[in-house]
């Protein structure tokens, strides 16, 4: 269950990568740092301003989402069409700036976010802690909402169209730039939510994003970059592998087993489990 819960977090972060990658073909290496920012904003709302946990959740999600949209409008829109590598480096640079900002603003201490989920439930002889349950439930809730959004709203369908073919969508009257900003907003919001859900497990500090983002990368690649169900399944697989490798094999393999599995999958199936290989006919 713990592996499943942590895997859900990886899945959520990977979902953020995939959403942005599908629509804009950019890879956002700052996703983990957005997660960290979300956790810090929620902590600030709960511990400093004495707000309710759920209000803090909303504030954090919305503010990071707005921040993501601004990021797209101000910075990332300029590099669309440049080589993918430039964008990767750009987001790595942005991530470094966010980390520095966080460590200057909040210091390098480790914080805990008080949550309303205490206690345990026993179902069929298995003891489940509510914190882990909240992560799994939160993930599935978020995914359900996103699914409904993408299939049942005009904007969601416009986003799907944009991710199929930007130019065609533009000709059909879809405001592609606005859609990109919105996708960044959604992705950043999902990252913030993941950060809040994760914070009782790993505690909040300025480097929490990096470790999670690396595992989430493995998850996204395992599932096939550009496949939304792949991201979630990949995340859960990575989480479970990490847990079982830590429990049954040596301590050193806990950190490396997810990557070894990912490398093996990539060597056999370079497009990932759920990915489709793009081909070009000459």
């Amino acid at each position: 269950m713990n592996g499943l819960a942590v895997g859900c977090i990886y899945g959520l972060v990977a979902l953020g990568f995939v959403l942005i990658y599908k629509a804009t073909e950019l890879v956002n290496f700052a996703q983990g740092d957005l997660l960290m920012l979300g956790a810090f904003v929620a902590y600030m709302a709960v511990a400093w301003w004495k707000l309710d946990y759920w209000v803090a959740f909303l504030i954090s999600g919305l503010s990071v989402a707005v921040f993501g949209a601004l990021l797209d409008a101000v910075v990332l829109r300029r590099v669309i069409g440049q080589p993918q590598f430039a964008v990767v480096m750009l987001t790595i640079g942005l991530g470094a700036i966010f980390r520095t900002f966080a460590s200057v603003t909040w210091g390098s201490e480790i914080y805990t976010l008080p949550t309303p989920f205490g206690g345990v439930t026993t179902i069929g002889g298995v003891t489940l802690s509510h914190q882990y349950l909240s992560i799994v439930a939160g993930t599935f809730l978020l995914c359900g909402v996103l699914y409904l959004f993408f299939t049942h709203t005009r904007i969601g369908i416009a986003m799907q169209a944009t991710s199929q073919n930007q130019l065609a969508a533009y000709y059909m009257g879809i405001p592609v730039k606005l859609i990109f900003s919105l996708i960044w907003a959604i992705s950043a919001g999902v990252a913030a939510a993941a950060g809040i859900l994760l914070s009782p497990v790993t505690l909040i500090d300025t480097n929490m994003g990096l470790a999670v983002a690396l595992k989430a990368f493995a998850a996204a690649v395992l599932g096939g970059f550009g496949s939304i169900p792949g991201a979630l399944v990949g995340g859960i697989i990575i989480g479970l592998i990490e847990l079982y490798a830590g429990a049954t094999l040596s301590e050193g393999l806990k950190n490396t087993a997810p990557y070894i599995v990912m490398l093996v999958v990539l060597a056999i199936r370079p497009q990932g489990l759920f990915g489709t290989l793009a081909r070009k006919k000459v």
Partner: protein, 380 residues
């Protein structure tokens, strides 16, 4: 304004473009050789960092800038080179043999990593190399019989054929020697068929393949050569830091190398050197600024009687001395370079040169890069 008439294909691949070029490089060589006798010993040590970073930059430039394969895990090769060199030295092998073995091992490692990389492109390759780096870092900390884990591993000063390179000045020349050899080797490879094949692969894999370039062979060579250079840099790096620990060779170091390559200018050997100067000298410059800005602004405030300037200086000093600020400054510079000058420092240098050599007729569009918006054009 100077005109360059090329009358044979040979002229396209000459080592130096013309005699003026050769003259300036000769002057630069003289300057670099004379430098350690002029400046302070401390700065000589800092300058040998520039040479080591330039070797790393050269390695990554071959892979990223010329072959178009992105690696986010090159610190792993640096680490393999450093540990291998230190281990063989500890076993009592002569310096030259240890060095050669270290380079051979990293070359082999690069070849092995390059094999699966043949099937991957773009972001998949980046993540695969990232995963490789994480695994290697774990190996460094766990394989205690060789690397001594987190306890660390001391590295002796280099002694080559009985000559000891124990002070900063002689080590400077050692690094300079290897950098010049590596630059010369790389330049020659680049003007040979191998380098042209690399560039063809970078520009379009499909076009290169249809021109008869064997993708598998040339990508493997690029990976192996790049890793070998990194191993060479790693051996010097081991001597420079004198004490190896697994937490040196992190992903952040790999990212720093990529920063070097980008800030210097992708796709040029000059860029690797410019980037190395930037990356190696930025931390000392930040340290100097951290000490001097508050002082000079406080002096200015005392002289003019404007108190807020003094407190502003103190605030800047306090900001610069916070931990992690360096990474943020690196990040900021990286973002600005990619947004404003995608060709990096070498691109800026070329533009300035072109402006003066074509003085009244400089055209801004000369360096305009084509953007590709269509999904089908980006299939690489």
């Amino acid at each position: 304004m100077r005109f360059l008439f090329k009358t044979s294909y040979e002229q396209d691949i000459r080592l130096f473009r013309d005699r003026t070029d050769a003259f300036w490089y000769g002057l630069l060589a003289l300057l670099v050789v004379g430098l350690p006798f002029v400046i302070d010993e401390y700065y000589v040590g800092e300058t040998s960092w520039v040479f080591i970073y330039a070797l790393c930059g050269l390695s990554l430039m071959v892979l990223v800038g010329y072959t178009g394969l992105v690696s986010l895990g090159h610190a792993a090769f640096l680490g393999i080179g450093a540990y291998a060199h230190a281990y063989f030295l500890q076993q009592g092998l002569p310096w030259v043999v240890a060095m050669a073995l270290a380079v051979a091992i990293t070359t082999a490692a690069g070849f092995v990593v390059g094999l699966p990389a043949l099937r991957m492109t773009g972001i998949y390759l980046a993540i695969a190399t990232l995963a490789f780096a994480v695994i290697i870092q774990e190996v460094f900390s766990r394989w205690e019989s060789v690397t001594h884990g987190f306890a660390g591993m001391p590295v002796d000063k280099p002694t080559i054929f009985g000559v000891s390179f124990d002070d900063d000045r002689s080590f400077y020349f050692l690094c300079l020697f290897f950098l010049v050899v590596a630059l010369w080797l790389t330049r020659n490879l680049l003007r040979a068929p191998t380098g042209r094949a690399w560039i063809a692969i970078r520009d379009s894999e499909i076009a290169a393949q249809s021109m008869g370039v064997n993708l598998a062979i040339y990508k493997s060579i690029a990976f192996a050569y790049s890793a070998g250079l990194m191993g060479l840099a790693g051996a010097l790096f081991a001597h420079k830091i004198a004490y190896l620990a697994p937490d040196i060779f992190t992903i952040l170091l790999s990212i720093q190398f990529l920063l070097l390559v980008i800030v210097g200018g992708l796709g040029s050997l000059h860029g690797a050197v410019f980037g190395a100067i930037f990356v190696a000298l930025l931390p000392p410059v930040i340290a100097i600024l951290r000490d001097s800005i508050p002082e000079s602004l406080a002096g200015f405030a005392a002289a003019t009687g404007i108190a807020p300037i003094g407190s502003l200086g103190a605030a800047i000093g306090a900001f610069l001395s916070k931990p992690g600020v360096e990474a943020g400054i690196f990040g900021l510079i990286l973002v600005l370079v990619i947004l404003l000058e995608p060709l990096g420092m070498y691109g800026r240098w070329l533009k300035i040169k072109l402006f003066f050599s074509t003085f009244p007729m400089y055209k801004k569009a000369t360096f305009k890069r084509q953007k590709s918006y269509m999904r089908s054009e980006r299939l690489r």
